[in-house]
């Protein structure tokens, strides 16, 4: 039944494509979004019988990630009609098809049991999301599209080579039959280490590019700043989360083979470097969307550090993936609203949002505090656990640097956000068309509310799933 998750959104694409132009096309998205989310929940609760030999199956790790991505997609899809209605001059046929293609490929990535199939899904996702970036049809977005397409394609080519290295290691290790992740984990200790290590480095470069780890993040600020907020939400909370899953799966192979320490060390170094790099570019940043992009680089770094610490930290990291995704959605959608109203995204042109758009202003401010790990939101809970595990396991340097970078990033980014939201009220020379409405603010409030709720109270079933997912990465 897992295959239904992939096929369902694809079945909606011809409907959207051949529909009469108009707002109904955009209204298909929330319908698909909610059905997909319900299907994910049904698959997770075991309503559908699973065939153990199937190529596609939702295990707890993939299930957790798809749960997040599907929730993100549902929230974004409810925002889409109201947003697209603001720009009636644009034809959004390709836009809607690309969004549906994205969630279909995310399902493929999450349910695939084979590293090769996972790669095919990730690459297809890159291609599906490319038209989203070229939404505004101007020179700048064209440049961003070209950068995204070339950098990610090259990264994905290297990830493919890494996947082949792992497969070759399995071959030399005497593995026969399909290379399912669970089967690899059982016999990985007989694989030759050189091939595994070389493969992991290539995979880290490849999927790290998609996730936006420094120094492979260069597409991120350009892409996020030139696209509508809704696309930023899809890329920042959806695509990067899938890339995280790919990386976690590969780490699981190395862990199972007993070569995990090598992999974890590089992850920590790269993660800390990403945080530092993000900090450097956040100083004196004036562009709200670029700030969000660098915050994405920082968070990718934190997740890499979490994977690198390993052990119990995996659970905290998986929790953080979901927490960050929700908060990021609220911030990107909020930035989109601000951009619509002010027709600009840089301070000081954007100032005093709160006077003008109270809902967007407040949610953006709250979302900012949540994303910088302030209590009581879920990122704080995840970060608290992650840092305490880092210290408890004797990694004083890693834990210390993590907290120092976090504090520095909070300091430098708060100035920009506070000026934008609470600064002097701006006088507009011409009338502004955009006003907060339930359609453009509702999804943001929902995302933030879930992020708050999960930070305070985590359902037992979700916690169990998280525990099982942790075991998959930790193997054996």
């Amino acid at each position: 039944m897992s295959i239904a998750l992939i096929i369902l959104p694809l079945m909606a694409t011809p409907v959207v494509w051949y529909m009469k132009p108009g707002m109904n096309r955009a209204r298909v998205l929330p319908v698909v979004g909610i059905i997909h989310f319900l299907f994910v929940i049904a698959s997770l609760t075991g309503v559908f019988q699973l065939n153990p030999d199937a190529w596609f199956r939702l295990d707890p790790l993939g299930g957790w990630v798809l749960f997040i991505v599907s929730a993100v997609f549902a929230i974004v899809s409810f925002y889409a009609p109201a947003y697209l209605a603001l720009r009636p001059d644009r034809n959004f046929r390709i836009f809607c098809v690309s969004l549906l293609g994205f969630i279909s490929m995310a399902s493929l990535v999450a349910t695939s049991r084979h590293p090769g199939v996972l790669w095919v899904g990730m690459e297809a996702m890159t291609l599906m999301t490319t038209p989203l970036i070229y939404y505004t049809y101007n020179r700048r977005s064209l440049e961003a599209t070209w950068k995204y397409l070339m950098i990610c394609s090259v990264g994905m080519a290297l990830a493919l080579l890494g996947t082949f290295f792992i497969a070759y290691a399995a071959d030399l290790g005497g593995m026969s039959g399909p290379l399912y992740f669970d089967r690899i984990a059982e016999i990985a200790n007989s694989f030759p280490g050189q091939w595994l290590k070389a493969g992991f480095v290539l995979l880290l470069v490849g999927y790290g590019t998609k996730m936006g780890l420094a120094p492979l993040h260069t597409w991120k600020p350009d892409t996020y700043s030139e696209t509508p907020g809704i696309v930023g939400a899809v890329l920042g909370a959806g695509v990067t989360t899938c890339a995280f899953l790919a990386l976690a799966r590969m780490l699981a192979i190395l862990n199972a083979a007993g070569e995990g320490e090598f992999a974890r060390d590089i992850l920590v170094v790269m993660g800390l470097f990403s945080m530092f790099w993000a900090f450097v570019f956040m100083v004196r940043q004036a562009d709200l969307k670029r700030l969000l992009a660098y915050s994405g680089v920082e968070q990718a770094g934190i997740l890499a550090i979490g994977l690198g610490i390993g052990g119990d930290a995996i659970k905290a990291t998986l929790f953080l993936v979901g927490a960050y995704a929700l908060v990021k959605v609220s911030l990107f959608l909020g930035a989109g609203n601000i951009h619509r109203a002010f027709n600009n995204r840089t301070v000081p042109e954007v100032s005093g949002v709160i006077n003008f758009l109270p809902w967007t202003g407040w949610t953006f401010l709250i979302g900012f505090f949540a994303s910088t790990c302030c209590p009581p939101f879920s990122p704080f809970m995840g970060m608290y656990q992650l840092a305490s595990i880092a210290f408890a396991s004797g990694r004083m340097w890693v834990g210390g640097l993590l907290l120092i970078f976090l504090a520095m990033i909070f300091l430098v980014s708060s100035k920009l956000v506070l000026t934008a939201v609470l600064g002097d009220e701006r006088v507009f020379s011409k009338e502004v068309i955009y006003r907060d409405s339930i359609g453009t603010v509702g999804p943001i409030v929902v995302a933030l509310a879930i992020a708050l709720l999960v930070g305070i109270w985590m359902p037992q079933s979700l916690s169990n799933m998280l525990e099982q997912a942790t075991q998959i990465v930790r193997t054996p």
Binding site: E123, L127, T130, R139, L142, E143, W146, F164, Y168, L172
Partner: protein, 211 residues
């Protein structure tokens, strides 16, 4: 050892790719390289099953004909006969390629191989081709030539995948080829838009986005 001869031909083709600046020639040479890859796939098997024939056939068709045709289409829409001078000159590029090919041979000795594959040039050829792709991607300014670079990079990855034809399921092989075609197709569309917006395919002109 006819396979090693063909692998050597792939390496030779790398040098021919880096040596030229003419877009038409680059497209022709990358097409030829793709066809050689299909031939290697065919020779690698003792018995020619339907599966093998299908894979070899689609490789030759896609890498040797479909993709070069897509590139030629993108090429025919532009009036620019000459490509802008690359960031790194041809002579220096060739020297870099020679050095890295040498390194690829050294590196390949460090990695263990299957018994049946000992003595083949798969790994050095794959790594050298990979580097050729990188070199073209980084040094060429014209968008179309960067796509050729990506294609060469992909050829390097493909060469390595030949070592595991027996293990990679058809599903993955087909998916990879399909992704490649769609990828090049989308790149072609984007190049077309670049051509219209900037009146040139020179990526140096696209420099609005920076800190």
């Amino acid at each position: 050892m006819s396979i090693n001869l063909l692998l050597a031909a792939v390496i030779l083709m790398n040098f021919l790719l880096v040596a030229t600046g003419r877009a038409v020639q680059l497209v022709r040479r990358v097409a030829l390289q793709g066809m050689i890859l299909g031939l290697i796939l065919l020779l690698l098997h003792d018995e020619w099953h339907i599966h093998v024939l299908l894979m070899a056939g689609s490789t030759v068709a896609i890498k040797g004909a479909v993709i070069p045709w897509l590139l030629a289409q993108a090429l025919s829409r532009t009036k620019e006969a000459k490509s802008p001078t690359p960031y790194v000159g041809y002579t220096l590029s060739l020297i870099l390629l020679a050095g890295s090919t040498f390194l690829a041979f050294l590196l390949a000795r460090k990695l263990p191989l299957q018994v049946g594959m000992l003595g083949t040039l798969f790994i050095p050829a794959s790594l050298a081709t990979l580097f050729t792709g990188f070199l073209l991607l980084i040094t060429r300014r014209r968008a179309l030539l960067q796509v050729v670079g990506y294609l060469v990079l992909e050829n390097g990855v493909f060469l390595f995948s030949l070592l595991l034809v027996k293990n990679m399921p058809l599903l993955v092989e087909t998916g990879v080829l399909l992704d490649l075609v769609v990828g090049i197709f989308i790149m072609g569309i984007v190049i077309n838009h670049i051509q219209q917006a900037f009146d040139s395919q020179d990526t140096k002109r696209m420099s609005d986005l920076k800190e």
